[in-house]
Amino acid sequence: MRAHTLLFGALLGLAIAGPPFIVRVSAQPQAAAHPGEYAPADIAYGARLYDAQCTTCHGANGDGVGGVDLRSGRFRNAVTDQDLTRVVTAGIQGTGMQAFKLDQSELAGIVAYLRNMNSFDRGSVKPGDADRGRAVFDGKGTCARCHRVGDQGSRAAPDLSDVGATRSAGSLLRSLTEPTSQMFPINRPVRVVTRDGKVINGRRLNEDTYTVQLIDDQERLVSFVKSDLREYTILTVSPMPSYKSTLTDAELADVVAYLLSLKGR
């Protein structure tokens, strides 16, 4: 199946060194994003959320509450992004600031927007359209050949049914253009060779010192004792193709909008 070729094709060309049946993959140290850097997609998503949920009290310019100017970049009850998140989710007792129930993606967007209200140019970002994004997802992007949403699509790659509640807009956009950079380590593809030479490719669900649990490319749940294997390889390159050159910026924005709409049940 082509879907499986997409998912696992990258496995074949990589030479892996290491012990006979276990390949340890060490953490790849990377510089963390600077605390002051926020993805434009997050800022734009946050702006839309702000318009929908915050303007009633704070106003479009962030100065609707007496003595509070959100555009100043200084907050009376918050210094860090964690503080801001806490204020938004817990409210401020004794004031009109209520608690908001927002998921991780929405919080990342709100914080990014609050940090950039003063400089964000709404005209610089064209918001995506979720319906158009779904059409790209199912059509041109052929995403459902590997990913599942609800009861549709393959289980070979991670299920995206609630990805809009767990991944930020910026992360989703990068997932489409630089898939490896956003691949969670648990989703690293694995290749198993049993003692009798049988090859199984799959996606990790769990692992401990002695065993590993997978969903394989036939969508079977399988568990192996590592010492029974001839080879066990964890790969660090995502088999997902980059859509940087195959989708337009508008199509990418539409797909991100669609993914952000996937909040699970």
Binding site: A27, P29, A31, A33, H34, S168, P185, I186, T209, Y210
Partner: protein, 567 residues
């Protein structure tokens, strides 16, 4: 019967009484100071939290060997009822096991069958404030009296035969975040405990209490007052500080004691590891080295006077508690006998100190370290704080933590549970002290290679490891006790919070978050045997002998599992 006894002569009756006394005493003798001093040589029992005053968690028992460990099987289980990390380490005295269970119960049971004799239930103050989990790590015993510290900062004495409360004394006010979570240490006629609560801005101390009355005999503050030795390590705030600085930082300077200390009878010194400074992460508001946080202190056991100290992490900004059991070892160092203290610290370095003087002899990383690079000749680290937003190794939970290491005099190796490849992006934020309120002062983020990816949790979240090798892995490391050189490594996929036990037959027992209980060859690290117990193991195994049979314990989740050889 009555008539026969009455017919005995007075001499015969006295002889019979003596005989009965001797016979019973042979089975269940009181645990006197002499037995405690020689606890490590009384291999069939486990009389002190770490097995002996030197805290080696090493047993002289040899029935279980590398050759027969494959024949280990479950002998009995005991189930607790209160969920949460069960960190206790049992005592075993002449066939009776004593252990604590959550939140502050004491249980006495038959060490051969697991059947219960009695349970003592301490009633906790409902207003208590306790940091980092409601844990208790064990007991101490002297004579027929058991001693337990409580989460509401009391010390209780319990009759070991009946479970009846003998006395209870207040160690500190739990409303200020004080607690006692570790097993007390009995030295001669005193029972010694320290207080936890550094995350609530306590002023830590170690104190000794009369074993008969509970009256306080001495107290050593781990945070000195300004007029006391070490008080000048809490420096005054700069006159024109641009950031928040607390002029009375020492008053809530932390310095918790989370785990049991050690004792050298020949030197009459008791050694205690001291926890982090308060607030944990915003070091800027407490200028100076902040003694005696992140230190080991050597105290005169009779009077509590400080004999020496060594500070592992001056002016800490990483929560690098010295929350480890001080391991005492008589080793050969550069060809000379040395009364050593060997220590794998949360800050990622392994140390050898002279335990008579506190002199720094060896400092060597056992995991990746980038918060410092070199030591000066007195052992002071040259700190290399990372730029904002960059990761620091080891991360907040440390290269190791509170769980007991082991030292085997038989192999000369020191064994430690380590977290490898684990980092945190640290950040401090000002925090003003308020009694009973969290006093962390940090904005830390676990370091993960992909933003938003699961990070290794500070405490176990469940049976699925979705943070994987990218966030951290665990290991048992065997280090040369005199040099810190790694002799072997037993890698684990998940991190481990388990203590380690070694025996004179060179078998090493340990667990981990994955729920496996493992026996390794202590000389090579080779896996000898394992059992999947299903839940995390976060305490230190012990071993003991009853009726000529050796047993070894593992606590997994709510289950105390006891193993022995198949017959």
């Amino acid at each position: 019967m009555t008539r026969r006894v009455s017919g005995m002569s007075g001499v015969r009756l006295a002889l019979l009484t003596m005989l009965l006394t001797v016979t019973v005493a042979g089975v269940q003798a009181q645990v006197g100071s002499d037995r405690l001093a020689n606890a490590a040589r009384e291999a069939r029992n486990w009389l002190i939290y770490s097995g002996g005053y030197f805290s080696n968690r090493y047993s002289g028992l040899t029935q279980i060997t590398p050759a027969n460990a494959k024949n280990l099987e479950l002998k009995w289980m005991y189930q607790a009822a209160v969920a949460g990390a069960w960190q206790t380490s049992p005592l075993v005295v002449d066939g009776v096991m004593y252990l604590t269970q959550r939140p502050n119960d004491v249980v006495a049971l038959d060490a051969k069958t697991g059947r219960v004799f009695w349970i003592y239930r301490h009633q906790l103050d409902p207003t208590l404030i306790v940091c980092c989990g409601a844990n208790n790590r064990g007991l101490a015993i002297l004579g027929d009296t058991l001693f337990m510290g409580t989460l509401d900062a009391h010390l209780v004495a319990i009759d070991a035969k009946t479970g009846r409360l003998l006395w209870k004394t207040t160690v500190a006010d739990s409303k200020g975040g004080y607690s006692v979570t570790h097993a007390p240490l009995v030295v001669k006629d005193k029972v010694i405990v320290g207080v936890g609560g550094g995350e609530y801005g306590i002023r830590g101390f170690v104190a000794a209490y009369d074993v008969r009355t509970g009256r306080e005999a001495w107290r050593f503050y781990t945070i000195p007052a300004p007029n006391e030795p070490g008080g000048d390590s809490w420096k005054p705030c700069p006159p024109a500080s641009s950031t928040f600085c607390d002029p009375e930082a020492w008053k809530h300077g932390g310095g918790s004691v989370w785990v049991t200390g050690s004792y050298d009878p020949a030197l009459n010194l008791t050694y205690w590891g001291v926890g982090n400074a308060g607030p944990d992460w915003n070091n800027e508001q407490r200028p100076g080295d902040n003694l005696y946080t992140d230190s080991v202190v050597a105290l005169d056991a009779d009077a509590g006077r400080l004999r020496w100290h060594y500070q592992f992490t001056p002016h800490d900004r990483y929560d690098y508690d010295s929350v480890q059991v001080p391991v005492l070892a008589d080793i050969t160092f550069h060809g000379q006998p040395l009364k050593a203290m060997v220590w794998a610290n949360r800050n990622g370095n392994f140390y050898v100190l002279d335990r008579e003087t506190g002199k720094f002899l060896v400092g060597k990383p056992f995991v990746k370290v980038n918060w410092m690079d070199t030591f000066d000749e007195r052992g002071r680290p040259n700190q290399t704080p990372q730029p904002p937003g960059m990761p620091t190794w080891p991360g907040n939970q440390g290269g190791t933590n509170w769980y007991s290491p082991s030292y085997s005099p038989h192999t000369g190796m020191f064994y430690v549970s380590a977290w490898e490849g684990y980092a945190t992006i640290f950040g401090g934020t000002p925090v003003e002290y308020q009694e009973g309120r969290n006093f962390g002062g940090g904005v830390n983020r676990p370091f993960v290679p992909v933003p938003g990816a699961p990070a290794v949790p500070g405490i176990r979240r469940g049976p699925i490891n979705n943070w994987t090798e990218a966030a951290s892995t665990g290991a048992v490391l065997a280090l040369d006790a005199a040099t810190g050189e790694q002799k072997w490594k037993f890698p684990m996929t998940d991190v481990t919070d388990s203590g380690i036990l070694t025996t004179a037959s060179d078998v090493l027992f340990t667990g981990g978050r994955e729920g496996y209980f493992q026996a390794l060859d202590a000389r090579s690290g080779t896996l000898l045997w394992k059992a999947s117990l299903g839940a995390q193991i976060v305490s230190g195994p012990i071993t003991y002998e009853v009726d000529g049979k050796q047993y070894v314990t593992a606590i997994s989740g709510l289950s105390l599992c006891v193993f022995g050889l198949r017959e």
